[in-house]
Symmetry: C3
């Protein structure tokens, strides 16, 4: 999942022609979707979909819709504009469990893929890990297709990252012990984070908030075409061949 | 004000089609203007102007013209190439008050908008704040339309930023107590700097040295479409509605 | 030498139209070359060459070919695709002197320019400096046209940089005392590194792993069109004029 902070049509076309095979989702970060000229936005959505890539507005936008008591209008507008998915998050606001379930269902009913997000944007708002685990299970039960683990654009001081962007180890382990990794998308904007997740979970781990210009470099990292993972991938292959 | 370190025509077109409504000025950073093929430069200037955006060469270029005793030639050339504005700065060199006034007047006489800049590129060259205040007043009196507060491309260790990019608090306050904020453009390349200035002065504060790919994300930050400012903007709106 | 981590055709065209005069080599970083659609890769190679710029795949790719015992196939494929140069490095793997010489010769025999690289990607793998000096001399003797000094994409904790990206001073001096600087390309992705090398060796020092969007800004730094080098370049010119 790529975070798009305002790519023009030329840059989207460049990105998807070059690395589209390795990208599943394009997220128009934050509430930037609201700042586009509507014709341009529709063209961008349509261009992205023509490469077989899902596109959706950032979770902050939905949080604002909820604050403004416009959730149904927001979801219908997203569908109308051509977005193929939606993110339900409460990274900044507090959202009742009931509203969260309603958002998931309403979007799923319109045929949108639903991603929910767990983790707070600020480390001071953090909840105990068991509440996140409960949340994840509940979201999946209600129709979310994947749950995003918050990491922000910066990869620091948010979700399960400390102020230097390192994993908060025991929380990460608790998460992993309880959830099927394939149902998670880890926001991992920094290379060290990507590398650690790949080395631990293998090349197919879902990663998010990837800067556009890192898409191909990340794929290289996944498949051992970059120094940092070359040896471990090669060793793994060799062991498989020898079996 | 966007800092452009060498965008091609495709990227300029992408940027301005997407975020042009939120951009006032494009600065061709440093002396890079001198490194373009002239036909390309003229095309780039003309393309930028077609979006209603001002374009001007970085202040370092004028400093060199002064060192080489070519100020009038420099200003005429800028006008001839189609630039709509000019920056008068002494971030690196020392410039007499008389030369500064002459540069402002000469550019204004040719119909160019004039931005002056205060603050040194190196923290060791710093002047007492009262001299900057005097400078700002003098520049505005002589025809500068806005005064840029130095922050460099890095946002660190220059102007009123310390080595970590944090505001030097008492200098900032002194500046603010004495000058109409609308006449300043704050170079604020880092997100935390942008956020602090927006939360303090509201969404219309003039910001500069914004990296091109941050233009739309910054607008989202201004209007509360990003987690970091969402709550404070929403709280402000609510208070207004309740009044 | 620019490091290209996956630029699309539009971005390559933008880059080379704008800054092509200041670029000698485009490196498709890591093993990303393997991730392109082949038709697109050939078009990109051909586009780059049309600007008179050499293009070659990152050294990691060759290391993998060696691990897989496919060196001749790799070199022939590179030639076949239109690459004009090749990098022979052992930043991650260990390579015998014999294999290294064979790689250099095989590529040179096919008419490819050969760049070799010295320095390890990890600071824990470092060799004594005298071994690097021996390596450099041997590579040049066997037909390498230039030797790249490892700096990675990050410029930190690799080659002759410490964990903060500062030069390891005594190693740098030893290198400089023994090798003709014109035969080296310094990977120097960070501005402070570029600046230090330029101020020490003059504007023509070969620099590598330059991010695409820094190409024009780096040229400005070289020729004194940027605050950081303006004064020293101007002082030098003045001294020359006065002689």
């Amino acid at each position: 999942m790529i975070i798009d902070k305002g790519l023009g049509l030329g840059a989207v076309s460049d990105l998807l022609s070059t690395a589209g095979d390795y990208i599943d989702f394009l997220k128009l970060g934050f509430g930037t979707s609201a700042l586009y000229n509507q014709a341009l936005l529709e063209e961008k959505i349509s261009l992205t979909k023509s490469f077989g890539v899902d596109i959706y507005p950032g979770g902050t936008f939905l949080e604002i819709a909820i604050l403004q008591n416009k959730l149904p209008e927001y979801i219908r507008m997203a569908k109308h504009l051509g977005f193929t998915a939606i993110e339900v998050s409460d990274g900044t606001i507090n959202m009742s469990s009931e509203v969260r379930v309603r958002a998931i269902s309403a979007a799923a009913d319109l045929g949108l893929k639903v991603f929910t997000e767990v983790g707070k944007k600020s480390s001071t708002d953090k909840l105990p890990i068991r509440l996140y685990l409960k949340q994840i299970q509940q979201d999946l039960d209600h129709g979310a297709c994947k749950v995003i683990v918050e990491g922000r654009e910066s990869g620091k001081n948010a979700g399960f990252y400390d102020s230097e962007g390192k994993f908060i180890r025991d929380e990460m382990e608790a998460l992993l012990g309880a959830v099927d990794c394939g149902r998670l998308i880890w926001e991992a904007p920094l290379k060290d984070q990507q590398q650690e997740l790949i080395l631990r979970f293998g090349p197919n781990i879902n990663l998010g908030n990837i800067p556009p210009f890192e898409a191909l470099a990340l794929e290289a990292l996944r498949v051992g075409l970059r120094g940092d993972t070359l040896c471990s991938v090669y060793k793994g292959e060799k062991q498989q061949l020898e079996r």
